[in-house]
Subunit: 397 residues, 2 copies
Amino acid sequence: MRSLSNEIRSAVLRDFAYGLVENAETIIAANALDLAEAQANGMSNAMLDRLTLNKNRIDQIAEGVLQVEHLEDPLGRVLEERTIASGIHLKKISTAIGVIGIIFESRPNVSADCAALCFKSGNACVLKGGKESYRSCKAITDVMKQALEAHGVNPDALMLAEKPSREETAEFMACREYVDLLIPRGGAGLIQAVVKNAKVPVIETGAGICHTFVDESADFDMAERIIINAKCSRPSVCNAMETLLVHEAAADAFVPRIVKVMKEHGVIIYGDEKACAYDPEIRKGNETNWATEYDDLIMNLVIVKDVHAAVDHIETYGTHHSECIVTASRASKEIFFKDIDSACLYHNASTRFTDGFEFGLGAEIGISTQKLHARGPMGLRELTTYAYHLEGKGEIR
Amino acid sequence: MRSLSNEIRSAVLRDFAYGLVENAETIIAANALDLAEAQANGMSNAMLDRLTLNKNRIDQIAEGVLQVEHLEDPLGRVLEERTIASGIHLKKISTAIGVIGIIFESRPNVSADCAALCFKSGNACVLKGGKESYRSCKAITDVMKQALEAHGVNPDALMLAEKPSREETAEFMACREYVDLLIPRGGAGLIQAVVKNAKVPVIETGAGICHTFVDESADFDMAERIIINAKCSRPSVCNAMETLLVHEAAADAFVPRIVKVMKEHGVIIYGDEKACAYDPEIRKGNETNWATEYDDLIMNLVIVKDVHAAVDHIETYGTHHSECIVTASRASKEIFFKDIDSACLYHNASTRFTDGFEFGLGAEIGISTQKLHARGPMGLRELTTYAYHLEGKGEIR
């Protein structure tokens, strides 16, 4: 893997993408078996929809692979270069991590996305998906394996775990000798299970209790626009807003209007005592609400004394993902940015922008909510590490 | 912690350094109690020496703290800056990690080094040292706590665990909610115990089975100089050479001379079959030897077919730390650098240079042998993470 040029990696990915389109019928046939079994097992319609592949979705998956193929090579970048005191010339160079394990749930497109991202960044990839989508993922990864073989690359650069038992999964997650990194992609339950059981380094992704704070000096029209977008444009994703905090001095003017518009958007609101006083339809919320990622048209509304109280609330109940302050005050914004320990802090913009494509990374394998290695949206560069290359003329210490 | 300016952080560290010198007698008195107990428990002379503090050593510790104080502020650096497609202005800014736990053995100076490095990089620090040095570490950390209080900083920014039980240590290492990173500093046993038991992210440090490969085209005088330095200048450290690999075409000319000179330096040599044929004093080695970090005047000597065989040996038995190729061939060097997955690769220079000070980092908290977050020597910057700061004008997605 380490010796493959970007040209070969790109050629494999192009063949993978074309192969997906060419083999669409085979993939759809495999997917039909998964769907029939899932239906027989009583899977919900929403879940069935996530599992379904059709010609159009396969074209989209292939398009995504080609997008990754087009991206700049993340390997061999010179990150630092200098001559050190001893006279040795030092270069810090980006390199592949090695073997990346991806543990995901039922969406079969994840297998293609991750295979492409890992291979483009020079990493071998072991996929472990949900058993509901095994046949679909197998059909997709078989296409990639053919592309690898066609270019003389060991097809084991991509592996799909064959419905492993619980014990085998545990063994895999403990395998520090052979796996360099685990990335869980899925709901909070899956992520916590991986974090709890893994001995291999894990990057936590996904959990997002995002906040928007409307300061005393906020432009209320702007605040309303941002809040509607942050809550309602796609409530099921991790960068959607869960809790709205409002400065008490802005509450009388702003709370009635935002409650009205959120109700029009079908949003259920849980409020603290002060918030509940503004509208009988606001339900009484508590600490459990403040700490819940709804991923739905539900939100919290809490009135706070000032920006410091907003910071305290976010630090207590947040997940270090994305937070926004709407304010005209530079001082408030500085406090918010300095005192909150989150991956992405927004001033006057929706938290929905926390996304690898929006950030210009060209792709995204997940959004890290931990602080080591990578934070926030992770693209190709976040799938690399580095090595020091040192050139001497016989120097000794 | 996050709001402290570099000026305050520096002032605290200066007071810490001056305080160490002023309180030298108190520290030496505490150390004397540790030493008396260790002696009564039959600690070896080498270990007693590591544990001993005197006026001169305390001056050196204070000097080290001042060096850290002088370093460039690692926080608030703009790592990237651009306007993204939506029109939002994005800055990627270095920030503190949070709470760092350091688990170390008996050298009391580690407590001062780590306290200074963590505080300078804006992190709170929890130290857990060996019980043999508890009183010495307590005396040292008390000085830092006084300096913190004198500047209005919560003295709990630095905590020293009070001889915790095994269960308490296990609980600490599982405490993902309150500890962001664990760095074990010590021997392989300590590091493996931490890696095995921790739920908190760990950076592995230290284990170093470093190799030097003498290629067919090597300058033998240079090779000899580098090998003597890599093996003998300080055999107890992780960047010392453990295994010498020699190209078979160079063996007749080079092996007899290097064996002679290493024997003169008191080095015991374990060889493979071909190496043993050169000298009856070379002991017969095996896979266990190739996988041993001697940290002593002992080395392995293996004759290999070519640079590819050298790469294979290093990938099989190495610890991804530091490796050197001595060669005049650019082609051999390219293969060595491209195919070996180690933190530091040297061409014609001693592996002993793998060190934060030598690399110009100004300080070192350890040498990472893992691939996530930080690799190789870790200085102040490696004790930081980053956050995205995004400035908008009401953008929605």
